[in-house]
């Protein structure tokens, strides 16, 4: 009878509503319990297709009115939905079971070698399930982990948004965590992966979790598990689409010197004769419009009044207004994805497609198409075959250059009162490289137009790259006897990136190169060593990687014993070929270039033919090969679901260049143990259903294949003077070169309290990294000049580092029921300091800095903010004062080169030591609102101070200090900005810029994002074609709630523009 109702009435209701006249509702009641028979409160009881909802009381009982044809639905988070048809029943006894699907999501973690049940795991894992992963929107796979995991994203200039797991483990080695997609490390560009293909992400944090990845696990491991079809699952189609719009970037965010102030400085410099050299220069170096007016006035070409009024007008202009109006636009990102999956007894299938289309704020574009298929075949009873293919095609097109790169050939920045466009928005030329008079006379002599219009020039440049990445993944699993499985995997990855950078014939770049090499013959005619036309740069990068893994897995249990073990062998090679080339005189229509004379040194016209240069030859070939061999084993034993022990060992070998054979390989291992106290028979705390203690110890490593134990050279092409092939030394010999090692000890606690109302984990760890690769500053007299950094240093295993930290993850279900409120709190404390570093002298100079780069000083954080001690301004002159031998001094040379390491001011780390987030999610009926507040504490940054030498020499206006400078005695009471002096003293500037007075605290709390979603399923809304649909709004970068610094700067973006606010609208569903 009940079956009849389900088969008949449910579809009937769906199609026609109540067609049976008007039966009378009757009162029904019941009790809802869990599988142990305990009453469940706050269970939502709803009649399918109607709005009526009641909740169970604390005794698990409910009562409502219903028709015999009604179907009751029972919902509670974490439990599977239960259904009952009313029929003739008036009392219901409902048992709700855990939601297997949901349970699986949280209780199984993948290491890339195996999936582990979390309850027996001894290591520290963090898992981001599908719904949390899809909480945010973005083109790439990693940024979605920001704020919802313990990973810290280092966004500071030069750090390229590197994900940092548990603080830094390396100083100068590769600091990025290993990223594993399904089973193998991903060698291509991780941005190729479509986030919509991701099912879940597991972060392996301690040695027990990560040691299986051996020498690549030193920075932690992020395992991305992609979506798969399921056996015996019906066809399921899901899709999603979203669009994200960003505000225009705020060009006024960074404080800058005003145009009026800059004009004053130019007038002063002009009076000092500063520009005479430029005027007389054979290089015809540009002079700003104000200086040109001052020259014209001096030479009597304009009247003082006319010059004065024009200069006054220029002083009112601000190039940032043009940048805001014309240069930057709104970034718009679109994302579409479709996913079809299912499976039968004999096979599973998945097919997905994704398409992304982004428009950047600089009018560039990115498009990506992902196609993926993943199939499993259960051919024999014992044999499973998996075949997956992943195809990514992307196209990246560059737009305008960053406005900060508007810099002349001799390194001077664009003057702050430049006009980029006229009133009608038409691009105007600017005096960046050459004087206007020189441009005019050259053009009259038959040269190409030499003027530069930054606003429109990018349209003459075609800069794009196409990438095709193919990934083939195969696996065969054969069950030899129950519990024992042999597994063989092979992955082939082939990626090709073709880059094109065509400076069109009308681009400034091409015109400039052609003009520079143009020769004026004795009879006044011109000859052009660089032919007319475009300049075409091409690059081609090909990556080919093979990975093979053979592995034996055992999973078995007898009695109260449970054992899982694996052992295997892995081979991986990665070959990367780079080719780059250039053609001159390029004609885009016929796709042809012209030959040029690369050998002759031509006198350059822009240097008055006083300086010779060869036409740049830019053909380059390089092939890199990495080979890795690894042997690994891992075993975990659990007794009676109470005690677990695990151990892993791995040996890695790599083709580290020239290293003694025994150092090519390094064995790494880990041990772990766990005790699930709540499963003990004596444990009877009903309010504490789960209590588990974990401990682990072990090693992981890091390898740098670019290093060599022998002295190596690189060939640098043709020497410009000797015209012979020349070579330079890369590194001095280093026979003791080895791999970096990190030891992690982890203590963890997992718990659940008060019927799941509060759950979470606490981990405490210590890290010790040894044999770290570092740059040792060496005495200049050794002559060991690093060709990459142009500093006297050598790179070797010179450092050690120690760290410890605490990770607290809490989840609270504050309110359950019709109004649902959940809170997730992440708290991280991570501190690390250098404990050993090769230090050649006690001079503080090499270590002073803003902490953007590693400044490895023993006892200090790796990214340390170290400055000179500040003794205030001299009340008479406004000179900055520091200390020499404890005495207040203005001998800047003595301060800079004489201050000892111990006399520097150490403020602290430049990277947050305490960070985390608070995520609150509220839901009421179909609507949910989630807000992510993130916080960072315990770090510092160095404010950008004025450097008069850079202001004079390179128009550096990127400091807001000038207006606050010391001008008269007494000013030192309220300012710390030194007085302007001429000539500038670069050491005085350097001392001030790197003194403790400019250190600011970074601590801040920000509203990172807000998400508003409306969820509905077929039950809630009639006549909906989807099984489930969600429409959402998602806003990011909403701003700071609190910050410690009194400056206007956002501590996370002290030197760059801050990311604009974005708003996304999206919908997803399945049917």
């Amino acid at each position: 009878m009940r079956l009849f109702y389900i088969l008949f009435f449910v579809p009937a209701l769906w199609f026609s509503g109540a067609v049976y006249g008007a039966p009378v509702p009757a009162a029904v009641s019941g009790i809802v319990t869990d599988i142990r028979g305990q009453p469940l409160k706050d269970v939502e009881v709803r009649i399918r297709g109607r709005e009526a909802v009641v909740f169970t009381g604390s005794d698990g009982h409910f009562k409502m009115d219903a028709l015999p044809a009604d179907t009751l639905e029972f919902r509670r988070p974490g439990l599977a939905v239960a259904i009952a048809v009313v029929g003739s029943n008036t009392f219901f006894k409902i048992t709700m079971r855990p939601d297997v699907q949901q349970l699986q999501e949280v209780s199984v973690v993948s290491t890339g070698y195996q999936t582990l049940r979390r309850e027996s795991a001894t290591g520290s894992f963090e898992k981001v399930g599908n719904s949390l992963y899809n909480r945010s929107v973005g083109t790439d796979v990693l940024s979605r982990l920001d704020g919802v995991t313990d990973i810290l994203f280092d966004r500071r200039v030069g750090q390229q948004n590197t994900p940092v797991i548990r603080g830094k483990s390396t100083l100068f080695g590769n600091a990025a965590p290993l990223i594993v997609v399904d089973n193998f490390p991903y060698n291509g560009d991780i941005n190729n992966i479509n986030p919509n293909d991701v099912e879940s992400v597991t972060i392996l944090k301690d040695a027990a979790a990560a040691s299986i990845w051996g020498v690549r696990a030193g920075n932690g491991v992020i395992v991305i598990t992609t979506k798969k079809g399921g056996r015996n699952k019906p066809l399921s189609v899901s899709f999603n689409a979203n669009v994200t719009v960003a505000e225009k970037p705020d060009v006024f965010y960074q404080p800058r010197m005003s145009s009026a102030d800059f004009v004053d400085v130019e007038k002063m410099l002009f009076g000092q004769g500063f520009y005479t050299d430029y005027e007389n220069s054979f290089s015809h170096l540009s002079l700003s419009p104000v200086v040109e007016l001052l020259i014209a006035q001096r030479d009597g070409k304009v009247t003082a009044d006319a010059a004065g009024s024009q200069i006054a007008a220029l002083a009112q202009q601000d190039v940032r207004k043009d940048l805001q109006r014309y240069w930057y636009g709104r970034a718009v990102n679109q994302q579409y994805a479709l996913n079809i999956k299912g499976g039968s007894e004999k096979s599973t299938y998945l097919f997905s497609a994704g398409y992304d289309r982004n428009l950047t704020a600089l009018d560039g574009g990115f498009q990506r198409l992902n196609l993926r298929s993943d199939n499993s075949f259960y051919l024999l009873k014992n044999l499973q075959l998996d075949i997956g293919t992943y195809i990514t095609h992307s196209r990246n097109k560059a737009g305008r250059q960053d406005a900060g790169s508007l810099v002349s050939q001799d390194g001077r920045q664009l003057y702050p009162y430049a006009s980029l466009a006229d009133g009608g928005g038409n691009a105007l030329p600017v005096n960046l490289d050459y004087r206007a008079s020189f441009i005019e006379s050259s053009q009259a002599a038959g040269f190409q137009d030499w003027s530069y219009r930054p606003l429109s020039d990018y349209k003459n440049i075609d800069s794009h790259s196409n990438q095709l990445d193919l990934l083939l993944n195969t696996a065969a699993k054969y069950t030899i006897i129950p519990g024992l499985q042999a597994e063989f995997r092979y992955q082939l990855e082939s990626a090709q990136t073709q880059g094109t950078l065509l400076y069109g014939a009308n681009s400034y770049y091409a015109r400039n190169v052609i003009n520079q090499y143009t020769q004026t013959n004795a009879d006044g005619t011109l000859s052009l060593p660089v032919p007319l036309g475009g300049i075409m740069n091409t690059s081609d990068t090909r990556l080919l990687s093979n990975s093979i893994r053979a592995q034996l897995n055992y999973n078995g249990s007898w009695g109260r014993h449970q054992l899982s073990a694996l052992a295997g062998y892995e081979y991986r090679n990665v070959r990367t070929e780079n080719r780059a080339g250039r053609d001159y005189g390029y004609n885009a229509d016929t796709e042809s270039g012209l030959p040029v004379d690369y050998v002759t040194s031509f006198p350059l016209s822009n240097y008055g033919y006083f300086f010779n240069a060869q036409i740049p030859y830019q053909n380059n070939y390089q092939t890199d090969r990495i080979y890795n061999l690894s042997y690994f084993t891992n075993a975990a034993y659990t007794f009676d679901k109470r005690y677990s022990l695990s151990a892993s060992a791995r040996k890695d070998e790599s083709n580290l260049f020239g290293v003694n054979a025994n150092q090519k390989g390094v064995p790494l291992y880990s041990f772990g143990g766990a005790w699930t106290a709540s499963n003990e028979s004596f444990f009877h705390a009903g309010w504490l259903p789960l209590l588990k203690l974990r401990a682990s110890y072990g090693y992981s490593g890091n390898v740098d294949n670019t290093l060599s134990a022998q002295s190596t050279i690189s060939y640098g092409g043709q020497d410009p003077v000797s015209k012979q092939r020349y070579a330079f030394i890369n590194n001095p010999p280093n026979p003791d070169l080895g791999w970096e090692k990190t030891r992690i000890v982890n203590l963890g606690l997992d718990f659940t309290l008060f019927k799941d109302a509060l759950s979470g984990s606490v981990d405490y760890y210590t890290k010790k990294s040894t044999d770290l690769i570092g740059f040792s500053p060496v005495d200049q007299t050794t002559g060991v000049l690093n060709p990459a950094t142009l500093l006297f240093q050598y790179k070797g295993n010179v450092a050690e580092m120690k760290g410890h930290g605490l990770e607290v993850n809490l989840h609270a279900a504050v309110l359950r029921g019709r109004f649902n409120w959940q809170t997730d709190l992440l708290l991280n404390y991570a501190e690390s300091k250098v404990t050993r570093y090769y230090q050649s002298g006690d001079s503080g100079l090499p270590y002073v800095g803003d902490g953007l780069l590693v400044s490895p000083l023993v006892g200090k954080a790796p990214f340390a903010v170290l400055t000179y001690k500040w003794a205030g301004l001299d009340g008479q002159t406004g000179d900055p004062q520091g200390y020499v031998n404890g005495q207040i001094s203005k001998d800047y040379n003595a301060i800079l080169s004489g201050t000892k390491v111990g006399d520097l001011q150490y403020s602290g780390s430049a990277v947050p030591q305490v960070y985390g987030s608070l995520r609150n999610t509220f839901s009421y009926k179909h609507v949910s609102l989630s807000a992510l507040i993130s916080y960072k504490f315990g770090y510092y940054f160095l404010r950008r101070g004025i450097a008069y030498s850079a202001l004079f020499g390179s128009n550096d206006t990127e400091s807001g200090d000038y207006a606050r400078r010391w001008q008269k005695p007494g000013d030192e009471q309220h300012t710390s900005v030194p007085s302007l002096i001429y000539p500038a003293d670069s050491q005085r500037d350097q001392f001030y810029d790197e003194s403790s007075v400019n250190v600011e605290k970074g601590d801040n709390i920000r509203l990172q994002d807000l998400r508003l979603a409306w969820d509905a399923d077929r039950v809630g809304i009639k006549k909906m074609p989807f099984r489930h649909i969600q429409v959402f709004l998602y806003a990011t970068n909403l701003g700071l709630i609190w910050k410690a610094t009194k400056t206007t700067l956002d501590p996370d973006y002290p030197y760059s523009m801050k990311p604009p606010k974005t708003l996304a609208l999206g919908f997803s569903g399945n049917f």
Binding site: G273, D624, T706, T712, V721, S722, K723, T781, L790, G841
Partner: protein, 459 residues
């Protein structure tokens, strides 16, 4: 039946054997791959070509010679505006301030030692891989030459002027005989420093070929010329003259300035016939283009019929001062300081006149002057007074070798002779600076970072 199962076992074994063999071969292959170099751009130098390529790196040996001595000397001058805009080391070198080389780790000291390091790596490589062939000998000669040549340049800035009486105790250079960076830097004595220079250059003389394919590489003549310069700096005039003579025996051609057009922005070609080895100074902004000037009084010391007047100098736009355009680098951005045949004529002449061989001195002097003056108005000099002829030779040296990086060394040695000593005077921003003969500031300070790192005594 039995046979079949035997066959079955047999085929199984064959299969297993094949699989096992395959696996072993595969593993063995993988093992071998661990010896493949990780990047095509890396090379362990081992062949003649590798070491020659290292020696042909002009950025290490030829084009970043010391420049502070030239700024400190009296070849040219800079305007206040140029001085004010210059960087710290350039400014301070000009006025003999002690704060030098501290604003940049790439400086006169470190560039020279970077060259010495490369030379040492090459010398060690030759010991390891070299054979007795002439090509290996040449490379060893080149490395020895540049090590000696770099020490010679360094000694002119960082050591006291050579004095036979005190050379055994005066602080010399750090002599680095190995590329091993763990060997601590210590200062030798001036005597040891010059012995090292002479020893390196003598070894080079024996190993270097007479002819070179590019003038950035030293030949035998370059080693003789460097030895001649070394003995000149030591005021060992007999030997300086002998080595200048040995050098000229291998080639004594001079450019006839009457044949040089003198209309281009730059008067001379790089690698011209007078160049013995091509070396240029670090192209510091203050020494380039329009900044480093010659005043009218020095300009006036060139006779009107002296072709160097127009080939060396060009009037600065809008000024009475003059720019130098006579660098044998063939550019205005880099000052040439390598030895030339003309310099060797002058050294031989100076040494001959100092030894009383007046006529031989006049022969060399006139041979050079003939190529420098307009042919129509050329008059040979004649005198029997050694003092007069020495004066002529030194004046000719000053005029011929202006902006050639040798003036600082000349001042240091000539100041030892009271009759030739000179007090330098410079005025910057209205302030007068003086450098009397024998002043301690004739020895430039070693970069402070080096002192901090090594603890060696500062000058």
């Amino acid at each position: 039946m039995k046979a079949k199962s035997l066959l079955h076992i047999y085929t199984c074994d064959i299969r297993r054997l094949l699989i096992m063999t395959g696996l072993v071969l595969f593993f063995a292959g993988c093992k071998r791959e661990l010896d493949i170099k990780p990047s095509s751009s890396l090379q362990v130098p081992s062949s003649v070509a590798d070491f020659q390529a290292m020696m042909d790196n002009t950025g290490k040996f030829n084009v970043l010679g010391p420049f502070a001595g030239t700024l400190a000397a009296d070849d040219g001058f800079v305007t206040d505006a140029t001085w004010n805009a210059a960087h710290l080391t350039a400014r301070n070198a000009y006025i003999w301030d002690r704060n030098l080389f501290n604003d940049n780790v790439l400086n006169d000291w470190s560039y020279a030692y970077a060259g010495i390091f490369t030379a040492n790596v090459v010398l060690e490589g030759i010991t390891k891989y070299g054979t007795n062939g002439a090509d290996w000998a040449s490379i060893k000669g080149q490395a020895m030459f540049f090590r000696g040549y770099d020490y010679l340049q360094l000694a002119q800035e960082f050591c006291k002027a050579y004095d036979e009486q005190t050379a055994g105790s005066d602080a010399g250079l750090v002599l680095r005989a190995s590329s091993d960076l763990n060997i601590k830097s210590v200062r030798s004595t001036v005597s040891q420093t010059y012995q090292q220079i002479i020893s390196d250059l003598n070894t080079a003389v024996n190993l270097l070929p007479v002819n070179v394919i590019t003038k950035t590489r030293p030949g035998k003549a370059a080693a003789y010329a460097a030895l001649s310069r070394t003995y000149l700096a030591m005021r060992a005039y007999d030997k300086a003259g002998l080595y200048a003579d040995s050098c000229l025996q291998l080639g004594a051609s001079l450019l006839d300035y009457n044949q040089v057009a003198g209309i281009a922005a730059i008067s001379f070609q790089r690698f011209n016939n007078e160049v013995i080895i091509h070396t240029t100074m670090t192209p510091d902004a203050i020494l380039t283009g329009t900044r480093y000037l010659v005043d009218t009084s020095f300009y006036a010391s060139y006779a009107p019929e002296d072709l160097r007047r127009i080939l060396f100098f060009v009037p600065l736009r809008g000024s009475t001062y003059l720019n130098f355009r006579g660098s044998y680098d063939g550019t205005t951005s880099r000052l040439f300081y390598g030895p030339t045949t003309a310099e060797m004529y002058l050294v031989r002449a100076e040494c001959n006149v100092r030894a009383g061989r007046i006529n031989q001195a006049l022969d060399d002097l006139n041979a050079l002057r003939q190529k420098r003056y307009k042919t129509v108005s050329y008059q040979p000099l004649a005198s029997a007074d050694a003092g007069v002829v020495l004066g002529w030779v030194l004046t000719e040296r000053r005029k011929e070798m202006v902006f050639r990086g040798q003036r600082w060394s000349d001042l240091r040695r000539l100041n030892k002779e009271p009759s030739l000593a000179k007090t330098l005077v410079k005025i910057v921003n209205g302030k007068r600076y003086e450098l009397p003969p024998g002043d301690p500031r004739y020895v430039l300070p070693i970069p402070q970072a080096v002192i901090n790192d090594t603890g060696i005594p500062q000058n």
